[in-house]
Symmetry: C2
Subunit: 296 residues, 2 copies
């Protein structure tokens, strides 16, 4: 069977089932990062790899600085989603020999700029020839205090579901220039018990079911409460993808304090309660949402 007919989540589950568990690994495959932590360690190591591909994640008319920014910012966003800080980046670029040196240098400036903004550094990498398509893969490490480490699987029945920022329409430009929510995630995990968290990369419609499934819950959301970007409908907010906002759940007891302190700390960035986690039931309400499948 061809990949495009198979379903991405099923594919990943099958590819990774039966893999041996690595030394000191504290996550299952499927979280935004792998978490490595020896017993008693003060900080855990986060490992993330991510790629962007010409014609899929950016067009051949995209600005090279922004291409580099996006490549790095996507991986940084995943480190943020675990409550961590990015540390060391390795950059792999496969590019046509007919590309201009100045083009590649501008990509690198975008990479450096994103990595540097969050206190991390590029420490290595690899360049290779590509027959045609430009391909950039970022491997990024990070660190997180065990008490601040957030995964997808910690959500509890009754939790309130929140998103940062506004959703939808990223393709009009934000997908190349977005700011990973490192500061916000650090603040959240330091000051609140965040039960489950991830970043929204494939759209709420794909990502919220993943968080709920990992937490063994179902969910409900109020579509009319979704925070929308300009010229976006709730359908855009659910399906467009590439929002790179935080999606997290928290006990309803903490909502009032969360909302009041958030608005003092991050007055320019909305924080919206969009729904709640429920007990799993026979009725699968997850089919009403649909996000981005990488192969469909």
């Amino acid at each position: 069977m061809k990949l495009r007919n198979y379903g991405e989540d099923r594919l990943v589950a099958e590819l990774t089932s039966g893999l041996s568990r690595g030394k000191n690994v504290r996550t299952s495959i499927g979280d935004d990062c792998a978490v490595i932590g020896a017993r008693g360690a003060k900080k855990w190591l986060l490992l993330k790899t991510d790629c962007i591909v010409e014609g899929v994640h950016f067009t051949n008319r995209a600005d090279p600085f922004q291409i580099g920014w996006k490549a790095a910012a996507r991986a940084i966003s995943d480190i943020a989603a675990m409550g961590g800080l990015p540390l060391h980046a390795l950059v792999t670029i496969a590019i046509s020999p007919t590309a201009e040196v100045s083009f590649l240098k501008a990509i690198y400036r975008g990479l450096e700029s994103a990595v540097g903004k969050f206190g991390a550094a590029i420490v290595g990498g690899e360049t290779s020839r590509s027959p045609d398509t430009l391909f950039i893969s970022i491997a990024l490490t990070g660190e997180v205090e065990p008490a601040q480490c957030a995964t997808r699987s910690g959500g509890k029945i009754g939790d309130a579901i929140y998103v940062t920022g506004r959703l939808g329409g990223s393709i009009r430009g934000k997908h190349l220039t977005f700011t990973p929510r490192v500061e916000e995630a650090r603040w959240l995990t330091k000051n609140f018990r965040i039960h489950a968290m991830m970043d929204l990369s494939d759209g709420l419609g794909a990502d919220l079911p993943r968080l709920a499934r990992a937490s063994r819950c179902s969910f409900e959301i109020s579509e009319q409460n979704l925070p929308l970007n300009t010229r976006c409908s709730s359908k855009n907010a659910i399906s467009d993808g590439e929002d790179y906002e935080l999606l997290f759940t928290i006990s309803p007891r903490d909502c009032e304090k969360l909302e009041s302190t958030w608005h003092k700390k991050f007055s320019k960035l909305p924080l919206t309660r969009i729904g709640k986690l429920n007990r799993q039931s026979a009725i699968n309400n997850q089919q009403s949402l649909r996000g981005f499948d990488h192969f469909a």
Copy 2:
């Protein structure tokens, strides 16, 4: 100017000059791995990323298990070149939606097989659509005791230069099935003072000048002493690339003991003294060698 006319080493030097140095980073960009180690740490963290591209590193007729093996083994070879052991791998694959699921699964089995053979584990990754070309990028961590960590830059004037195995002709099959020299490198760095080491990926003609330059030495080799694979000339040994053997330097005082103990320990794998490091002089003897340039 186009990349293909620029020279790979110059390009990498320019892309990475002026990058801020990361926290606890102990290597310069250009070594086989980045080395991260806090003061007093018992083990240092090694970080490596590497990619293989369809049409460059393998053809579209290659066996998918071997494609996976090669992708992982290349990165493992770089961990070995530092004297380290591989720990955690992250796999990024960009592949056409029209590819067969069974093809991708076979790639994964090759990846798992290589990673598992050396005691490491796949702990995460990313799959993406690619318009056409298949790309696989591996991010691999490893660990090494500070006393066993070998870099390219430690070579000293007068050092003997050695290579493991036989060189040349890898394109006829070995490049898809080679065994990274993890065990050999661990043994070497544990039992001898290895001054400088790297793995041979772009051919002796490209890689030895890099080691010599990093060590601020020049070099001489005896072409007639090069260990050759069947149906290979010394020209193949110098220029073909993808040998994935170890290239290292050691004090001439240690040669006798090295050679006698090596042959007892690794009786099936040749170890050959091919030349020595010299004082840098005005005469640039490095131009007589030529290996693989990724963009030329």
